[in-house]
């Protein structure tokens, strides 16, 4: 059931999705953070925020606290006069400097609430910039510049992330009618119908393609960890299926130690590979909540280029991973490789070994809406009851997506959109949870209730290795299951007067 509206008095009156007047300890971040993360997954890309320099600085610090990797974000550094007279000059100087310094392969130009509010004409600024620099900047060519609208009063970091992935496809994979590359992409106004979930056959290839290597599958993974992205690539490789992941920050946000300074960390999806997505054999887009959005990267490819989309849940847990694997098998035209099948077998075997420790335990799950769906699905599979599924997002689709993915949910599960941690705290004690699962932001509440926290998602900035937390695939389910069971065992052992070393 959807929780009753928060008890706060509201001024927004009859709004069907009323917003509380005050948010206390938000369970979300702002849109430009999502944009910066997504742009970091493009090779040689630098994110550029059109707004105050504080936005870039805060987001850099936040991202670094989780990934522990360099995260350079440029900004147009609005001043008082640019807030009054417009930021056109700042955009020009900023782009020149960032191209001069970094020689990027792509600039990801995201607005902020400031530039959105004063109504900056980003498309116009970009046109001026391209027109003014036909020969590049100091010999460095002007790379593609991908604009994306990121007003933080419209949605959360998850929206910023998905909108950015869509903007990359939108700008770099123009349709026949669109202008050529690099120009300011105007987001399509037409709402292509969302494709239903489910496995589809791949687009049939004509006989003349037979000799050429098959075009890649476009995979839009959503906001996962670098470890997750590596796992997805490993799974695709096991199927010998060429896949282009967008974004792919598995190296840029979890890279090795350097022999010399890298202005922009190596790795990421090459711009050319994104352009080539117009010829992808199919697309897979994760996120059951995202699947209810009218326009996404997958729908843009479908509408413009006839790339068949498949919109699945994040492959977290057994069933959602099964669906992904089945779809890959269909695309690759082969059975799941033995290596994958054995992982699945070991996972189920471990669930048998540990089932008594977790059955009917009560969990509070929070995070981005699609992550919450995935985690709730995983928990339900081995008998944990998600007593509260909460997200700061407000898609209006969380409950539907949860019910579709987790049929065993019943009235014991409270589902909250637009939640903050004060709201979660109001309900948490009465729900008597055995553990929390989500980001570090739940720690203070978990500590207050003396309940353990299983850390995952973003941000994890009170532990090392947030970037290496594995959520997806059978291996991800295995890792999460082991951690959950061991967390409960640890709690039981620590609280025991006897203290057995043999459990």
């Amino acid at each position: 059931m959807i929780a009753p509206p928060e008890s706060f008095a509201r001024v927004n009156g009859t709004d069907p999705e009323p917003y509380p007047n005050a948010t206390t300890n938000a369970c979300k971040l702002c849109t430009p953070l999502g944009a910066c993360l997504a742009f970091r997954g493009v090779r040689g890309a630098i994110p550029f925020l059109h707004g105050s320099q504080g936005c870039a600085t805060y987001i850099r610090r936040y991202v670094i606290s989780h990934f522990r990797e360099p995260m350079d974000i440029a900004a147009s550094n609005f001043s008082e006069s640019s807030a009054v007279f417009g930021g056109g000059l700042n955009v020009r100087i900023g782009l020149e400097n960032v191209i001069r310094q970094y020689k990027p392969e792509l600039v990801g130009l995201a607005t902020t609430c400031l530039s959105e509010t004063i109504g900056e004409d980003l498309a116009g600024h970009l046109q001026d910039f391209h027109g003014g620099h036909p020969g590049g900047v100091d010999g460095a060519p002007v790379p593609p510049i991908v604009p994306v609208s990121c007003a933080s009063y419209r949605g959360t970091h998850a929206k910023g992330f998905h909108d950015t992935v869509r903007a990359l496809v939108d700008t770099l994979c123009p349709g026949a009618a669109s202008s050529s590359t690099g120009s300011a992409g105007i987001l399509p106004a037409d709402d292509a119908p969302a494709s239903p979930n489910g496995t589809r056959a791949p687009r049939p290839r004509s006989p003349k393609d037979a000799a050429a290597p098959p075009p890649p599958v476009a995979l839009f993974p959503g906001m996962l960890s670098p470890a997750d992205l590596r796992e997805l690539k490993r799974i695709a490789a096991a199927f010998a299926l060429p896949v282009t992941l967008l974004p792919d920050y598995s190296d840029t946000l979890d890279g090795p130690s350097w022999a010399d300074y890298e202005k922009l960390p190596s790795g990421g999806t090459p711009v050319e590979a994104i352009r080539a997505l117009a010829r992808a054999q199919a697309s897979v887009e994760f996120g059951r909540v995202l699947a209810r959005a009218p326009v996404t990267a997958a729908t843009v490819l479908a509408r413009r280029h006839g790339v068949l989309p498949c919109r699945l849940g994040l492959p977290i847990g057994l069933r959602e991973t099964d669906r992904f694997i089945e779809h890959l098998a269909a695309l690759a035209g082969r059975e799941a490789p033995a290596e994958i099948a054995r992982e699945r077998g070991r996972l189920i075997d471990s669930w048998v070994d540990g089932h008594k420790y977790v059955f009917e335990k009560r969990a509070i799950v929070y995070g981005e809406e699609d992550l919450v769906v995935g985690l709730a699905s995983l928990l339900a599979e081995f008998g944990v009851t998600p007593v509260l599924c909460a997200s700061g997002g407000r898609s209006g689709h969380l409950a539907d997506a949860l019910r579709a993915a987790v049929p065993e949910l019943d009235e014991r599960t409270v589902i909250r959109e637009g939640a903050d941690f004060a709201g979660i705290a109001d309900q948490a004690a009465a729900l008597q949870p055995d553990f929390f699962i989500g980001s570090s932001k739940g720690y203070s509440l978990a500590r207050r209730l003396n309940v353990p926290l299983v850390r995952c998602g973003f941000p994890v900035h009170d532990r090392i290795g947030g970037q290496r937390i594995l959520h997806v695939g059978y291996a991800g389910a295995q890792s999460l299951f082991d951690r959950i069971v061991n967390t409960l065992l640890d709690r039981k052992q620590a609280g025991s007067p006897v203290g057995y070393a043999y459990l």
């Binding site: 320099q53 509010t117 933080s152």
Partner: protein, 468 residues
């Protein structure tokens, strides 16, 4: 071409970089104290950040960020500022403005949010921070604050901290203006004559308590700390002190000047970092009050001696290991940079690169004089410049904040966090010891030998030898 060579300084940035002890008798002053260059990836933050940093540790106040969610979310309980009582300040309150609020204005929502939160948390005062868009959508924050203050009976104080108004420095001034509204409203009848305020200490990891203990042992009464472990009622009384000690001078000198002008309280700029500066600060206070309290200098000497005796044996051990190592410093304010240059000398280390986000001409002239010849001095630097100089100077340690950490670590360089997010006390004598321990732990760690850049150095010809 390696990175040190390939990273070019942007033409518009060249005047903000200089080298100590070179050439002309009267070198041109460093270009500083100006807006950051667009696209340069400044390490600076915005006016909101400056205000939030200063006021955040006032523990029993409600801190409401008026704007969309980001500014509040990124400042939720990430700092090391501690409180001995109320933990209210560690929450993140936001009006979380939505599109309709931006279109129709956020005043009603702000008023309702304030009333809700004040009813729920019973704070002693409330601060309302304006973010970028608040000025643009024309909310009359001052009027709402007045209205709510009248209705609730607590001070509700607007902070003019719209991010685009400037750097942290602009926000510092806005915060000082805001907190100044509280000052002078408390009873000061019972305050002793030998009494001070501590300005610009934020009780990171309990530092305020360390410093307060020294003054207690000296017999100096501390009226209020601004804002470490801060309390609204104490701040109301701080006009009753006879001297203001301004640590972290960039942040709170403007408040000290207001207190001097309106209440005749003189101030001294001091630093609590490093043995020399900490001792100088205590002696400064002793000298100031010696006419009223002739025993004070003697008691101060005792405190200083006791503290230094406690830490010297261990410090000497670190010094033996660290002597000759080179450090880079990039911090917010110049006074901290001065202290760090001295503290590193105490450890036998040299400073090869030093920079700040907000220093002024005098600060940089001071750095030029106090640093060894050849030390690179930068204002408002960026990651590429910092990386370039770290490589050129081949430093063993970087002292900075979280944003600088990956620059150091990726290059196999040790790191010490000296920013507000740290959870280690680095002020006072015990802080010097903690600093030395942290520097020692990072610089002397065995892990660096495996990092590619340093490994090349340890065994540069492995392959060639094998081939031969």
């Amino acid at each position: 071409m390696n990175a040190a060579q390939s990273i070019k300084i942007l033409p518009a940035r060249a005047a903000s970089i200089t080298v100590a002890g070179t050439g002309s008798a009267a070198p041109a002053p460093l270009a500083c104290d100006r807006n950051s260059l667009a696209g340069s990836v400044t390490q600076r933050a915005c006016a909101f950040c400056g205000s939030r940093v200063i006021l955040y540790p006032i523990a029993d106040a409600l801190h409401l960020v008026h704007g969309p969610i980001g500014c509040a979310a990124y400042t939720w309980d990430i700092r090391g500022a501690q409180s001995s009582g109320s933990q209210l300040f560690r929450n993140s309150f936001s009006t979380d403005l939505q599109e309709m609020d931006v279109i129709y204005g956020g005043e009603k929502k702000l008023g309702a949010a304030l009333r809700e939160l004040i009813a729920r948390h019973s704070p002693k005062a409330a601060f309302v921070y304006s973010t970028c868009i608040v000025g643009l959508i024309g909310d009359d924050v001052e009027a709402i604050c007045k209205e709510v203050s009248a209705a609730t009976g607590i001070p509700v104080i607007p902070v003019a901290s719209e991010g685009f108004k400037g750097t942290k420095k602009t926000g510092y001034r806005a915060a000082c203006d805001a907190v100044y509204r509280l000052i002078g409203t408390g009873d000061i009848g019972d305050l002793p004559p030998v009494s001070i305020n501590l300005l610009g200490d934020f009780n990171i990891a309990g530092e305020t308590w360390v410093i307060r203990d020294y003054f207690k042992r000296m017999g100096v009464h501390v009226v209020a700390t601004l804002t470490g472990d801060g309390r609204v009622d104490a701040i109301r009384r701080c006009h009753g002190a006879k001297l203001n000690l301004v640590q972290c001078s960039g942040s709170m000198t403007s408040l000290a000047k207001m207190l001097e002008k309106d209440h005749g309280i003189p101030f001294r700029r001091v630093s609590f970092f490093g043995i020399e500066d900490m001792s100088a600060a205590l002696y400064e206070v002793a000298a100031f009050f010696a006419p009223q309290d002739p025993g004070l200098p003697g008691r101060t000497q005792t405190v200083v001696r006791e503290e230094i005796e406690k830490l010297m044996p261990e410090l000497r051990r670190y010094r033996e290991k660290l002597a000759g190592k080179k450090a880079a410093i990039y911090v917010g304010g110049a006074f901290k940079a001065f202290s760090l240059v001295r503290a590193l000398r105490t450890l036998g280390m040299t400073t090869a690169l030093v920079g700040t986000q907000t220093g002024d001409k005098d600060d940089y002239e001071m750095l030029r004089q106090m640093c060894d010849p050849g030390t690179v001095i930068v204002d408002d630097s960026n990651p590429l410049e910092l990386a370039k100089f770290c490589l050129e100077k081949d430093v063993d340690l970087f002292i900075g904040g979280v944003k600088e950490r990956p620059i150091a670590y990726k290059l196999g360089i040790g790191f010490c966090d000296h920013n507000h997010e740290r959870k280690e006390a680095l002020a006072g004598y015990v802080g010097m010891l903690n600093f030395a321990r942290e520097v020692y732990a990072s610089v002397m760690s065995p892990v660096w030998q495996y990092t590619p850049r340093r490994a090349q150095r340890h065994a540069p010809r492995h392959h060639e030898e094998a081939a031969a």
